[in-house]
């Protein structure tokens, strides 16, 4: 194997070197070097998927419960670090300054909730999927089916954002049309998810994490070194970049430093980049708080994140895997703002023009004059980030379809072979639906992903929180909570879609502001919890066998 990899590398090196210059264009045609890097990485993914493929349903859903704490932490991080983290995070801060940090805080702070309120208990409950938990805990096949449908909707919404990221990077590297880029990328990720199941996906995710983080960090060291900042730890060194943007950098001081198109490394004083909820960004204090809260609640309610706790051997492993996962995630989240800060200075000259925010990570590296092959690796890392998340989402969505809908509701007597077949049909169906929606280009990566978080926060999170911690929460309460959370989600998403189509609905401005699609969980989740509690109090209590199970198995 080593010899094959070495031979491939040796053969491709001259092509890579000769192709390097082709990657210097900000936009444009086929970039050979980055394309070779991308294709090599995708080949590795598929090979790992084949080597660690699933042998039965236990393997397919929960990786045989054989993944270590660090391995699972790496898989959590890789699964989590999507195109939204890799590309969208820097884009948000590039586009709205300090406001973007609400996403950084929201997407990491949620792990504290997830750990102390759920991780260990979910593992002890011993179910395969989120819908499995809901159906059993609330003793209702209807709720199981509803949970499965919500999990599928969340996975689709999340996947669409990832496919958009894949499309953007494939378009940049291969010079393809967006539509073709989405179709090719979707086909590859579908192929290895189908072959490997979650065991392969988990192993893949550990490799993907390493690729993602290396490709993301290398340009940061180069940028901070090149522009004379503290390069040993760019995540701290860029503090001076932020202060430089705030106070301005006069041209005369650093005339020898230029970006890739020859502009001085200079910028007019722009405190709006770093000051909180600055009027220039069009974002408010309320939005900062609402986004941070909604994303945290959503993090603790995402089915594909919750599902990761089923793949560790013990409850304590589930807890420690969160710590490791968060640490691995934070390495990327400490680094993403560096791209936005450098991106602001390097694209400050109006001659650079309006850049696609979602690709600012790659543009920053290009404008910083980083070697095209490293930029290519960075773009391939972006694709890898999207792939790792999509694979986890496809498994979570397919599990909801085959395990929770087909096996538990439609055909309880199906054979393991039939179950695996249904899981694969579910994966293919989801990939096709996501590809079709992604082609419509409904919104930015971050927007589509944030909708999934709020949806999870309004629906799944209250069911898990109360289901684990209060035996008084019963089926009727769960239904009431789902109705309230679902209603708020529908109102918000309706206004969001109407707004996108240019349709103005009654109270449009008010609802669009207070129930915006990426933070409607700030009110939806508390109301859903309240409805669950009130209705549970007014209706017959939870059956004894469920309460007994909670005491003896989950909280013992």
């Amino acid at each position: 194997m080593k010899k094959i990899i070495l031979s491939l590398f040796t053969l491709s090196l001259p092509a890579l070197m000769s192709a390097a210059n082709a990657a210097t264009e900000l936009e444009g045609g086929f970039k050979t070097g980055p394309a070779i890097i991308l294709i090599s990485i995708l080949c590795v993914f598929v090979m790992v998927g084949i080597l660690f493929r699933a042998k039965d349903t236990n393997d397919y859903y929960a990786a045989g419960r054989s993944i270590s704490r660090t391995g699972s932490g790496m898989a959590i991080a890789s699964n989590w670090m999507s195109a939204a983290s890799f590309l969208g995070m820097a884009a948000l801060m590039y586009g709205s300054g300090y406001h973007g940090l609400a996403y950084v805080v929201g997407w990491t702070g949620g792990y504290v909730l997830l750990l102390i309120l759920m991780a260990g208990q979910i593992r002890k409950y011993g179910k395969y999927t989120a819908a499995d938990f809901i159906g059993d805990r609330y003793y209702s096949q209807g709720l199981r089916a509803t949970g499965a449908i919500i999990a599928i909707l969340i996975s689709i919404s999340y996947c669409v954002g990832q496919f958009a990221g894949i499309g953007l990077m494939f378009k940049w590297i291969l010079g393809l049309e967006y539509m073709w880029a989405v179709m090719i990328g979707g086909s590859v990720v579908l192929t290895y998810t189908l072959i490997s199941g979650m065991l392969g996906v988990t192993k893949n995710m550990q490799i993907q994490y390493i690729i993602i983080i290396i490709s993301f960090l290398i340009p940061l060291f180069i940028l901070t070194f090149k522009f004379d900042y503290f390069w040993i730890l760019p995540q701290i060194g860029y503090g001076s970049v932020v202060t430089d943007i705030t106070n301005g950098i006069p041209s005369a001081e650093i005339s020898q430093l230029v970006n890739a198109v020859g502009h001085d490394y200079a910028i007019a004083a722009s405190p709006e980049f770093s000051m909180p909820w600055d009027p220039a960004t069009g974002k408010t204090y309320f939005q900062w708080m609402a986004i941070a809260f909604s994303l945290m609640i959503g993090t603790a309610g995402l089915p594909h994140v919750i599902q990761r706790f089923y793949v560790v051997p013990k409850a304590s492993d589930a807890r420690w895997s969160v710590v490791w996962g968060l640490f691995f995630i934070c390495i990327l989240y400490w680094s993403a703002p560096v791209y936005s800060a450098f991106g602001k200075i390097l694209s400050a000259n109006p001659e650079v023009g309006k850049l696609s925010k979602d690709a600012i990570v790659v543009y920053t590296a290009q404008l910083g004059g980083i070697h095209p092959l490293i930029v290519g690796l960075l773009a391939a890392g972006g694709v890898s980030a999207a792939f790792s998340t999509v694979s986890g989402l496809l498994v979570a969505g397919a599990s909801a379809f085959s395990h929770d809908l087909y096996v538990k509701v439609i055909n309880p007597n199906s054979s393991p072979k039939k179950q695996l077949l249904m899981a694969r049909i579910g994966t293919i169906s989801m990939a096709i639906i996501v590809t079709m929606i992604a082609m419509l280009e409904l919104g930015l990566i971050g927007q589509l992903v944030a909708v999934a978080f709020s949806l999870a926060g309004c629906t799944i999170f209250p069911l898990f929180l109360l289901g684990i911690w209060w035996s008084g929460s019963n089926r009727q309460g769960a239904i009431a909570g789902l109705i309230v959370g679902g209603l708020i989600s529908i109102i918000s998403i309706t206004y969001f879609v109407a707004g996108k189509q240019g349709v103005v609905l009654p109270f449009h401005e008010f609802i669009s502001y207070y129930l915006e699609a990426w933070y409607f969980a700030w009110i939806g989740a508390p109301l859903a919890i309240l409805a669950n509690i009130i209705v549970s109090k007014l209706t017959p209590e939870t059956p004894e066998e469920i309460r007994k199970f909670l005491i003896e198995k989950v909280h013992s």
Partner: protein, 247 residues
Amino acid sequence: MNKDYHISFFRPTTERAKHNRNMVLWLIGIWAIAIFGFHILLRVIEKPVPEPQLIAFNEVWNDVKEGNADASSLTTFANSALHVAGKVFISTEHRAALDNGITWATFQLADSAQQVALTSALLDFEKAESEANAVTDADYLSAKRKLGGLATSILGLQPTEVLAKILPLELRSSSIEAITAENMEIIETCMPLYTIHNRSFLTDTTFLGFPFHYFYSAVFLLILFIGLCWAYCLRVDQYNKKMGIAE
């Protein structure tokens, strides 16, 4: 063992549950105060602070609007507008209005010979701009340098200043004659929008090179989250070991 089989987070019935509840409440308390408490504090103590360019703009704007501005006022107006046009978050609409103001003021400040030269240089630059394939094209760079040289001297800018570098890009041949009424309104609205910032000692104190609040949210909070998670896992493991609980 709870014989009624009732579980409630707030009313624990076992020692272990009490221990867990207390630990969770502590951690969530720290978590909530660290995130939301800090940002509430940031909000409470902040003050809207204008940039010097806005103060200068406000002093001359009425004269500019009413057509009574002298050379000094026009220079002040053009420089403050140019400062905002060069900002990193400027919208296309606002930039176009500011460009109108900058161009008009620059031509008002020029004498007749300079106006002729400036007009010619501006038209040459716009032609080169439309024909250039890249911003590094020699003709484009030459036209930009010529226009920049003329305009910066009129506005009293040093050629090495950041604003001098962007000035030629803000001049428009269609904006020489006057500032339109619509653009006047936009300029009046957008100047404070881009030059008033919410500041306090938390934003103005520098820590490890960062504005303190930025460091707090972008770096410290993430360290705190990992620390909270680590502390929780360690405490649970220690407690389980002490009590002889095997999971």
